[in-house]
């Protein structure tokens, strides 16, 4: 289910395999469409490869089908020799602190979904009238959110960010974004490209706490190159005397961003009328150990940061789709070995559902290739029984019809695609996304 990653491209040489993809939304591509930031269009080039796969004669796409409610996993197991669960992580980890549900607090997943046109998030209407926004988490998603909050309008308006988001951001009064992490600069989870983008973001200046970098210049000497380069960039940004050109940029900048380290959220504090968030209380940590395995230990001190927007970017989380399938709720993944779901013959998993919600497209793509290889191995060895014929989609579409569910085929998606591009041209953008399932279905059916 869902089309996030291609797990069958290199095996188109096998004449005997047909693949059907079931996706809840009328549109394919998952996080490549709804997660990748609008100002990172090159990252979405992989859609071209996905499209080639979908257009393969032995591949069919069935959008607008909700596995779990429109058709059960059991019914899919009856219709197909193998079922691959690839539905990712649509939930998010909660901070688990008081005030988390106040107005003004959002999960990064929802904020990103909002500016990327995910139908379920179109009514988010975040309040951007405050001066300071605090983002918890320091992964690439946190940096995407910071960058979208602080990017100049003339950059954003040329992207496929949704028009309602663009309109709201144009009115934003946010001038300061703090990106907060539990641990120190050497444990930061984002990657260097995204940090460089913040450093180079026009009309902004960095503001860090020098004390956070104590001992880092020494510690950085012994680490592998990727971590070293990233840390050196942080050090340079936080501590070095800027060049004349950079100094000029900083003095003219109207917006500020910065990392804050050694801080964990303990409470979101409400405004006097209790209607919304007005500050976040952060526990001050110290680091125990070093490197990737270092842990944050509370010191007992706390610090309150006034802010009107709190975005929690501490991780996505997979949800169970069917009570009969094994699910590890501690790790929030489907228990598996090399993509083979434990204790469930004929069921496999790939992507974030398999390994947890981290990794870039390349990582997840390779993880999916591995699942495909395991599946083909099982076909060849007999571990997966393919001896008797199975009806495939012919066993499923009658059920869907009976239940009043009309799938969207790939050629229908192409109509939606063309409509979005057409609307985008009128706005000077690569596309203007359709924002509701109803609108998507309407275009798909005409």
């Amino acid at each position: 289910m869902s089309f996030g990653k291609k797990d069958n491209r290199e095996h188109t040489g096998r004449q005997d395999v047909e693949v059907d993809i079931y996706e809840r939304l009328p549109v394919p591509f998952g996080l490549v469409r709804f997660g990748v930031a609008p100002d990172h269009p090159e990252v979405k080039n992989v859609i071209n490869t996905f499209t080639q796969t979908a257009q393969h004669s032995r591949c069919s796409f069935y959008g607008n089908v909700n596995v779990g409610t429109d058709v059960s996993v059991k019914e899919l197991q009856q219709a197909y020799h193998a079922v691959v669960l690839s539905y990712g992580a649509e939930g998010n980890r909660r901070m688990g602190v008081p005030g988390e549900d106040l107005a003004g607090v959002h999960a990064a997943k929802d904020f990103v979904g909002w500016y990327n046109g995910l139908p379920d998030n179109r009514k988010l209407h975040p309040d951007l009238s405050c001066e300071t926004a605090v983002i918890l988490g320091q992964g690439n998603v946190a940096l995407d959110v910071a960058r979208i909050l602080l990017s100049p309008m003339d950059m954003l308006k040329k992207t496929d960010i949704t028009q309602p988001a663009l309109d709201l951001l144009a009115e934003s009064r946010i001038r300061r974004v703090l990106i907060v992490g539990r641990r120190g600069p050497m444990q930061i989870a984002c990657t260097i490209k995204e940090v460089r983008e913040m450093v180079n973001l026009p009309d902004t200046r960095p503001e860090m706490v020098a004390a956070d970098f104590k001992g880092i210049a020494e510690a950085v000497k012994e680490v592998p190159r990727p971590r070293k380069r990233l840390t050196e960039l942080l050090l340079k940004t936080a501590l070095d005397v800027p060049t004349e050109k950079e100094q000029e940029k900083r003095s003219k900048a109207s917006r500020v961003w910065g990392f804050r380290f050694f801080r964990s959220p303990v409470e979101v504090l409400p405004a006097p009328d209790l209607s919304r968030a007005a500050a976040i209380r952060l526990a001050v940590n110290r680091l125990e150990g070093s490197g990737e395995g270092a842990s944050a230990v509370p010191t007992g001190e706390v610090e309150d940061v006034p802010c009107g927007l709190v975005i929690s970017s501490i991780g996505y989380k997979s949800l169970p789709i069917d009570p009969l399938l094994p699910f590890d709720s501690r790790k929030a993944i489907v228990p598996n070995t090399m993509g083979r779901v434990q204790k469930t013959a004929g069921v496999y998993c790939s992507g974030w559902l398999k390994t947890g919600p981290t990794g870039v497209i390349g990582t997840t793509m390779n993880n999916s290739f591995d699942t495909a290889r395991a599946l083909l191995e099982d076909m060849d060895s007999g571990a997966l029984d393919v001896s008797s014929a199975k009806p495939g989609s012919q066993g499923v579409t009658p059920l869907l019809e009976k239940r009043g569910v009309k799938p969207v085929e790939f050629s229908d998606w192409e109509k939606i695609d063309n409509e979005e591009i057409k609307r985008g041209v009128a706005m000077g953008k690569p596309r203007e996304k359709l924002l509701s399932v109803d609108e998507m279905l309407h275009v798909a059916r005409t």
Binding site: T49, P226, I361
Partner: protein, 171 residues
């Protein structure tokens, strides 16, 4: 050849515009962004029809250890060669040569690596994410063929594999 030249010009002009989509569709499997990199760096290509003496031999070692020998033209990137020659490396070149991934990661011998020229920060930033990074690693979409690289060997390293992941959610 005319199509390729025309496409290069189109991409050169419109690289970061929305009409890139038109370029990608009209040149189906050609990594037009990748060729643009070599053009932008001033690697000129012959405007004459391809002749065998204007080709550069490249040996790829695939993930099974097999050697595959192909030819490319000066000005092609190694990603262009992989695509043009239809070499079957899983997931190679996912972002189509735009420095948005590390799937075209290749490893070279010391001597060849030294000839490949300087690495930009932009390339290094993505290379840093590659699995099995070495001191002689580069991204194939940034390596432009020249006659002096005749006979070069490029090894396709292992990509992240499930053998490393135990299914416990750690990556």
């Amino acid at each position: 050849m005319a199509l390729v030249t025309a496409t290069r010009r189109l991409v050169h002009v419109t690289l970061r515009e929305s009409s890139r989509r038109a370029a990608v569709i009209s040149a189906a499997s050609l990594p037009t962004q990748s060729r643009a990199t070599c053009l932008q760096r001033g690697f000129t290509t012959s405007t004459q029809p391809l002749r065998s003496d204007n080709k550069v031999t490249v040996h790829f070692i695939n993930r099974d250890g097999e050697k595959i020998t192909v030819k490319g033209s000066p000005g092609d990137s190694l990603l262009d060669v992989v695509i043009d020659q239809d070499l079957d490396f899983d997931g190679f070149g996912a972002c189509e040569g735009t420095l948005a991934c590390s799937t075209c990661h290749l490893i070279f011998e010391e001597e060849v690596y030294k000839q490949l020229g300087p690495v930009t920060d932009e390339e290094m930033d993505m290379l840093d994410l590659a699995y099995g990074l070495t001191d002689t690693s580069r991204l194939g979409c940034q390596i432009c063929l020249t006659k002096s690289l005749e006979g070069m060997v490029a090894r396709v390293p292992e990509s992240v594999s499930d053998i490393r992941q135990s299914g416990d959610g750690s990556s």
